[in-house]
């Protein structure tokens, strides 16, 4: 069956060239027709809205009226005001730390499932993904219960005598935000890494061993470079969404853990300055994409060097 489906196109009767082009055209038309409802939906409710955000970021608002003359004033505020600079910088640092930690702690798990999962691979993947499907709000709330002053962690540490009074440094800071986000995004890092590890030809690793590489060297020279695409997608899928996280900083971040999403939200709530909110959103996206690009480059470079 695999062979058949691999050559599925060739066992079609050979058409004369003219009708063949017509056939391709009609296949193309059918494909486009079939995807068009979904595509139009995404264009109308995702692409168009993003364009409108970009447009708004160059406009200004005077109470309820929008002034549509082009201006860079919003970006001057977004990039110049110390408060927004701080929030943006902290959001970037947190999303970078979260993605590095998540990918690092998740890699061995993906490796374990792919190489030692045996016949239960699917069960392992299911076990890993279930927590990430459950309510994100509830998981953040749970971390609040764990890390709080009278929380599980403090009572636990007190009862085994490691500390003599509750730690106040666990909750309401950036560390709490990082821990919670690493927990939330674990499966999103494991899955892409697992997929790329599954594609690694096992005989290559064996060959590296036969040729005298030790475990570490064969990992660095064979497994890691070959799983790089998965590592890169894991980085992107964790880093970019976490930069704009709203719930986690609000619930466990306290004053020191506030991130840019709070500022964006404020412009659409009571603060009501849509153009500034739009400019903050666009700035965040552009800067985090640039950072993600740099991380990808750095990873590729690193793998080249260790090879």
């Amino acid at each position: 069956m695999a062979v058949l489906s691999g050559t599925g196109v060739e066992h079609r009767p050979a058409d004369p060239p003219k009708s063949r082009t017509r056939w391709i055209a009609s296949e193309e038309a059918s494909g486009l027709a079939l995807i068009s409802p979904t595509l139009l939906y995404a264009l109308a409710l995702l692409f168009l809205p993003v364009l409108i955000v970009i447009a708004y970021s160059f406009w200004t608002q005077d109470y309820l009226t929008i002034d549509r003359t082009f201006t860079l004033q919003n970006y001057r505020t977004a990039l110049g005001e110390p408060i927004y600079q701080d929030l943006l910088l902290r959001s970037l640092v947190i999303s970078l730390v979260v993605s590095v930690v998540t990918v690092t702690v998740s890699y061995p798990i993906a490796w374990f499932i792919s190489f030692h999962g045996g016949v239960h691979k699917n069960l392992w993947l299911f076990l890993i993904t279930v927590p990430c499907w459950t309510s994100y709000l509830l998981r953040v709330m749970s971390w609040k219960v764990i890390l709080g002053y009278g929380g599980v962690m403090n009572t636990g540490l007190l009862s085994i005598g490691l500390i003599d009074k509750p730690l106040t440094t666990l909750l309401y800071n950036s560390n709490a935000v990082v821990i919670t986000l690493v927990h939330s995004w674990a499966a999103f890092a494991i899955l892409p890494i697992y997929v790329s590890l599954e594609k690694v030809d096992r005989s290559l690793i064996e060959a590296a061993h036969d040729l005298g590489d030790n475990k570490l060297m064969s990992f660095l020279r064979v497994t890691l470079p070959l799983s790089l695409p998965g590592v890169i997608s894991a980085f992107l899928i964790v880093m970019i969404p976490t930069v704009g996280d709203y719930v986690t900083p609000k619930l466990v971040g306290g004053k020191d853990g506030v991130m840019i999403a709070t500022a964006i939200q404020a412009q659409f709530g009571k603060g009501a300055n849509w153009p500034l909110g739009a400019a903050l959103s666009v700035t965040t996206m552009v800067v985090v994409s640039a950072m993600a690009g740099l991380v990808v480059l750095a990873l590729q470079l690193l793998v080249k060097v260790t090879k």
């Binding site: 391709i24 995807i35 409802p37 595509l39 995404a42 076990l127 764990i146 599980v152």
Partner: protein, 274 residues
């Protein structure tokens, strides 16, 4: 110590996996534990067993209203994103056409975007159009967010489909619609059911879009968010949260079982063909 194929097998790795699972599951198991605890604070030692927090949910009309809203939104989102997902997944797995990559990229983009930016941009467009925020706007937004999940389930289900079955059906004179209903649908049905369940779960637990787009009709997560300000309401929220966790886990397990059964059947068929 060296395993099969010279792949190193270490002793600490299983221990690490165990710790990791503990890290993943501990926060999730904590909520049910405290939801049965006979105290309004969430500290150890536990103060005894009670079901009063669950009982208190029953008479809570605001919560029941939110649950009803979540149900309406969840079912609508599951249906809409699965129907849209079927169109796109079918087009992507069955036909070759130009612009496949950018189209896929756009549909899958919400996975790679901060949710707040999706929410804010939708909010601006919907308000610009003069639409009143309601459950309808939540549904419109959550479909965008659920599509990538529905699509990945559906694409992997449609991928294993043997195209020659459809060609045979068409050659034997069945219409395109008849072929889809009688040949394609039975094979891809498990993926469709999986997609419905997964989309419903994602919608049930989704907070940001619902928070921005729901107006005066909260869904369950938005209701919970409002309750979190009051420390005294925490046990009730924990009970509600535990119920939601249970529903999510049941739906996901169901979807996994359906998906795996179908995979087994396909593999068995494949073996027969070969």
């Amino acid at each position: 110590m060296s395993g099969r194929h010279g792949i190193p097998k270490s002793r600490w790795l299983p221990a690490y996996v165990g710790l990791y699972l503990l890290f993943l599951y501990f926060p999730i198991l904590l909520l049910p534990i405290f939801s049965f605890n006979n105290a309004s604070t969430t500290t150890f030692p536990l103060a005894g067993f009670t079901t009063k927090w669950y009982a208190s949910l029953w008479g809570n009309s605001a919560m029941l209203e939110a649950a009803r809203n979540s149900l309406i939104v969840g079912i609508s989102v599951a249906l809409l994103s699965t129907i849209l997902g079927i169109c796109a997944a079918r087009a992507l797995t069955r036909y070759r056409f130009r612009g496949k990559k950018p189209a896929t990229g756009l549909i899958m983009a919400p996975l790679f975007l901060p949710e707040i930016i999706v929410a804010v941009s939708l909010l601006m467009v919907l308000l610009q159009l003069g639409l009143e925020l309601s459950l309808v706007t939540v549904i419109l937004g959550q479909v965008i967010f659920c599509l990538p999940y529905a699509m990945s389930v559906l694409i992997s289900g449609f991928d294993g489909f043997d195209r020659s079955l459809e060609e045979a059906s068409l050659d034997l004179g069945e219409t395109a619609i008849g072929t889809f209903r009688r040949v394609t649908l039975p094979v891809v049905a498990p993926a469709i059911v999986s997609s419905l369940l997964v989309s419903f779960t994602v919608s049930l637990d989704e907070f940001i879009l619902a928070f921005f787009l729901s107006g005066t009709e909260p869904t369950l997560p938005v209701y919970i968010w409002g309750q979190l300000r009051f420390a005294a309401k925490l046990p009730g929220v924990l009970a509600l949260g535990s119920l939601m966790l249970l529903i999510s886990i049941l739906l996901l397990t169901l979807s996994e079982i359906i998906r795996r059964r179908a995979e087994h059947r396909l593999r068995a068929q494949g073996a027969q063909h070969a």
